[in-house]
Structures are given as C-alpha cells and as structure tokens.
Symmetry: C2
Subunit: 201 residues, 2 copies
C-alpha cells in the first residue's frame, strides 16, 4: 500500500515547504501545482480558470441580463464546477494509487479518505504568516503589511469555501486531520525530518 | 532554561498516557494529579472540592434562600475560585521553574505562556474515546456506551468552561497550541517517542 500524506494549510503558514521537505525526507513524490495543470488538461479549461474555481471564486463568464440568460449562466457554471470536482478527484486518486506521495491542498484528505492517508493541517498566527509571505515573495514588497494581511485572510476564506462546498466539512476542523502543526516562529526545515518520521510511523 | 511541555486533552483521548510516555522518553518530571493535591494543601480545601472547581463545576455550598444569603454564597464562591486560580498559577510556575517537565491540563499552556512551553492538544473522535475509556477503566463496564459517551461530553464541556473562565480563550483553539494530535485509532506508545523528539527540537 502506498504511503500518502495530505497537507491542508493556511496561506503563508509554510505548508507547501513542509510538504516538499517531507517528500524529500521520505524520498517520495510531491504534488502541488501539477494537479492544477492536470485538471486543466482533463477539462480543456485554462489553468487560470481552474485556479479561480479551486480558490473558491465564482468567475462570471457572461454578463447577467434577464432571467433565462442568468439561468443558463448558473447552470453552465455548476457544470464546470462539477467537471473540475470530478477531474480533481480522479487525478488525485490516480496519483495516490501510482506511488507514495505528498499532496498539498485540493481536498486530498477528503478525496482519499478510504485510503487512510496521513493528514496534516499547517497553520500559524497572522503576524507570522505576513512575515513569511514578505520573506518568500519579493513581489509582496510593493504591498503594505495591511494589504498582505487582507490578501492572506481573503485567500483563506476562499479556500474554506471551496473545501466546504466540496466536502461538506469545515476547513481546518481538527477532527479531519491527524496532526495540526503550528508554524508560528518555527524554522520549517528543523521540524520537517521529525514530522516525516511521525507520518511514516 | 527548563524544557516544559504542556498537554491539553479531550477526555478519553489518551493525553495523559501520551504525557507520561513523553516524560519517560525525555527523562523529565511528569505532573498531573499531584498539582491538585498541592492546590488543596495551599488553599486548605479538600482535594475533592478543588477537583470540582477545576472541572468547571460550581459546587453549591449553602442552600439559596433570599437575596442577602445568596450574595454571600456567591461572594464566597468567587473568593474560593480566586484562591484556587492563584494557587494553581503559583504551583505550576514553581514546578516549571524547578525542573524540565510535562504538565497535564490545568491551563498550564496559558499560565506558562511567557516561558515558551511546547504546547500539545490531544483529541480523538468520540467512538475512539468511548473505546479507550472502556479499555482503561474496568468500572466503566457497568455503564452503557451511551452513558460513557454522555459522561465524556459532559467532562469536556466542564473543562472547556473552566479553561475559558480562567484564560479568556477558547479551549482547544489550535492557535493556543504548537501541535494538535489526533489519537483516533492510534497506539500511543508508538507515536510517543517521536512526539517527544518533536517537542524537544
């Protein structure tokens, strides 16, 4: 049986770095944005559009005019959501069946629940997340701390909505995870090898 | 600087066993019910009474009759709560200053917040907690599963109230902990050495 580790994470908490380092420590595959590209390929939608849907946004495709047109737009949107949900589930299950791996985000803890993955949720206080965003992203230098904070909270709200729409569960509810890890003031490379050992036990 | 590990835990989650095993692995002191006895000694109250207060219960000392008597009773009760809160804080700070240790419950994560302890919260789904209660406590055999479940949920509700009254924080809120550990279907002795390594890093 493959060993599968799923990582839910608050934006800016370093969850992706932790996932990558766990995959390195265990010498297993690591999937993050690759899943997005696969979904785009399967559904013939653009990566950007898929990303918007998976970020919990509801992009408006057509101008809303009157009743009939609105209904068509809403139906079309729901169909596309369902295509993305279906592709996401197929791809993640396929990856988990193919080899031992770490999968970041994309409701993988829920999709793979019958495969008994080790499920991590990574979080941190808002100050620490703002700091991490500034450190890792030079483009964030143009934003004020207040703007970065607002951006972080909005992304988390969107993620929570997507997760909840897709799974019917509350995002970040500890019962849906095996270990919740607070990365406030933590150097991720210091804890990654021990977390790898923990999820591999 | 002493290494201090605090453990908050849902009833029946095996948090005490995990704490004891971490203390053994790190060869440091372990405090749980000893704190209760110390508080009783400091306040000249009975251990049973202190336990009731710390379990979030509000024992009724005198029959409530009319206004004045009720006020006296309430004042007396508040005074006793304050004595216990004060003694709890003094004793826990004293223990943490004396040697490296694991402290279970008693809001230690909050009391010692300026000492930067490693703060664990241990939890599990209700079925797993009922099972653990039955396995570890032969006297629970006389109770039905439904009764045990009710007992567990009541104790957690009382703990949450005591924690919240004392700290002003929500009990089990992940931001107040470094690691939250789900012990559903977990053999605690298997993970304890790795958790010990993690909190010692």
């Amino acid at each position: 049986m493959n060993k599968v580790i799923t990582i839910g994470r608050e934006f800016g908490s370093g969850g992706r770095e932790l996932g990558r380092r766990i995959a390195e420590a265990l010498q297993i595959d690591y999937y993050d944005k690759e899943i997005l590209a696969e979904i785009a390929k399967h559904t013939s939608m653009s990566e950007e559009y898929v990303q918007q849907i998976m970020d919990g946004k509801h992009p408006q495709l057509f101008p809303i005019t009157i009743g009939q047109t609105f209904m068509l737009t809403a139906d079309y949107h729901i169909q596309q959501m369902q295509s993305i949900y279906g592709a996401q589930s197929d791809i993640i299950r396929d990856l988990a069946n193919r080899s031992s791996c770490v999968i970041v985000g994309r409701c993988a803890n829920y999709i793979l629940r019958d495969m008994n993955p080790r499920r991590l949720f990574v979080y941190a206080d808002i100050e620490s997340r703002v700091k991490r965003c500034i450190e890792r992203n030079k483009s964030a230098e143009d934003l004020t701390e207040k703007e970065i904070r607002k951006h972080i909270l909005r992304i988390d709200k969107d993620r929570a909505r997507f997760y909840s729409d897709y799974t019917g569960q509350a995002w970040g509810d500890r019962l849906n995870y095996d270990y919740c890890i607070n990365t406030t003031n933590v150097v991720i490379k210091d804890i990654a090898p021990i977390i790898a050992q923990l999820v591999n036990s």
